[in-house]
Amino acid sequence: MKIFIQQVLNGLTAGSVYALIALGYTMVYGIIELINFAHGEIYMIGAYGGLLVLTLVGAHHSSGLGTVLLAMTGGMLLSMAYGLSVEKFAYKPIRDSSRLSLLITALGASIFLQNFVMIGQGASDKTYVSLALLNTTFNLHGVSITVNQILIFAVALAVMLLLDLFVNRTLTGWAMKAVSQDPVTAQLVGINVNTIISITFIVGSGLAGIAGVLIGFYYGMVNFYIGYLAGIKAFTAAVLGGIGDIRGAMVGGLLLGLIESLGAAYISPDYKDAFAFIILILILLIKPSGLFGKGQV
């Protein structure tokens, strides 16, 4: 039972991060029907952005929560900048082309960013400073939870609530929904579709950037290729929840994290990375519109 609860906790931690990344996938898909392969790389760039801030402010073992938040902001901003650039320079010029062209461009953007970072930052792992604050561990009847995990839950929860408010309660959020339903009519009622698409990319990328910094602290290191696997898993989470559906992506992410963690503990740790793909194929087979999706796919 203790192992089970521990695995659930670990699964929810990973799941919160998947959910944060999945939101970007689902938002972009909802608005321009593009699987943004480069999104995983945006997450990776966020992790590097956080690392850069930590180096700049000279973070050390006993740095406090302020440093953590600063790193998160830095990662978020860098990811936003890259997300916006990918949209403007790669996707916008060919938005009206065939779906195949769009997908291949997205793939190209993903590989480009990966190698861009590899050339700039080197191929070896870079370590995040290990903060005493985040490594503090609480023990509750044999189940341990670190401040780092609590931070991930808290940030993920706060960000999701804010996003939900943004999409459902602000004018920009409504405009986003309108564009995703019908871009032509949205334009007719005076919505600047290009701006809305850019905002979607910026918001989604910012969430991925935050996720990147969180995972940097959690695993203690970053590498240029971390975006690839995380990206596919987050996409799986988005499909699981119903692609295009924001709340679905949140639930899908948490669920995927749980399945992975429990699968690794009770079935086989060697196949941990394969579970996500098996789920992806199963969900496409059984209910391609996802758990909460209702739309046509």
Partner: protein, 361 residues
Amino acid sequence: MTYILPFAWTVAIAVPIMGFSRAVMAGTFMLAGIIVYTAFTGRTRRLQVYGLLRSRLESSFVVRHAWILVLAVSVIAPLLLNSYSLDVFTSVLFYAMLALGLNLLVGDLGLLNLGYIAFYGIGAYTDAILSAKFGIGFWPSLMLGGAAAAVFSLVIALPTLRLKGDYLAIATLGFGEIVRIVLNNWDSLTNGPNGIMNIPRPSLPWTQFASGISFFYLSLCILILQAYVLVRIKKSRFGRYAVAIRENEQASAMVGINTYAVKTIYFMLSAFFGGIAGVLFASKQMFVSPDSFTFIESVYVLAMVILGGMGNIAGVMVGAFTLVVLPELLRSFVIYRMLIFALLLITMMLFRPEGLLGKRT
């Protein structure tokens, strides 16, 4: 402003990742890219010269009979090459087989397969297990490798081919990873990350394909056979179904084409050719390990299809040749290789999505 802003922006966002001097370099590249792009999309939307040149070239006698020249060169050249160059050219043949197989899907049907290398891997491991462990021999395992790949392809084809093409792309990506993870972990069958050694070379009653040259010719024969089969398929009723589906799936279904069946058969065929190439690869190397079947290899093959021309058999072979030989010549730029590949994908989609030799539709 159209030039300064993108330049400044690129430099600004590149600085945190790669430092000032390289960021300025990136900005300069961006600037050059934008100048080229505006030149293309300005008054002359496409370079008219290219089209004119092409139609002239295409109708010329030499170009129409170029395949004879290519064939002659590929028959004679191996006799003159050293063993390293011969290896490079043998891998051109393997990649050409793969690219032609993938082209069935990407070019003819307009569907993206991002895990294509998995079928190559399934073929290679089928040969490794059947020939090295059970001594079945090359020829049966050539067919069985292709068949195994085709059967496994159904795992992906059946659930995803009913959905939009995007789902196929991501599901094949996942499938590619699953195959690699299984190859890496199923120690009793695949010997895990260490791979399988001592795979026998093919033989016929009167000869053995032990030398590099004989293997080259064997592969060349199989490639020619494959190209011939593909040309026949393309010209058949079935091939036209595929083009119809690519151009308009709904309309094709309306006129009575069973689009799901056609797509599934195409997917299996494509996997079959990937499997055959894999068997050849395994018996050429006499060794297989999961490292040869990574995602980036799938991208590599995709880039060949796109560069040469989607749906164009000669173009795809040119693409395979270019993308295998060129990196060999540019060895000193090895860390920029994937970066250049990625830029190639993006710029091709921007300027010539139909590829260098592809037909504009």
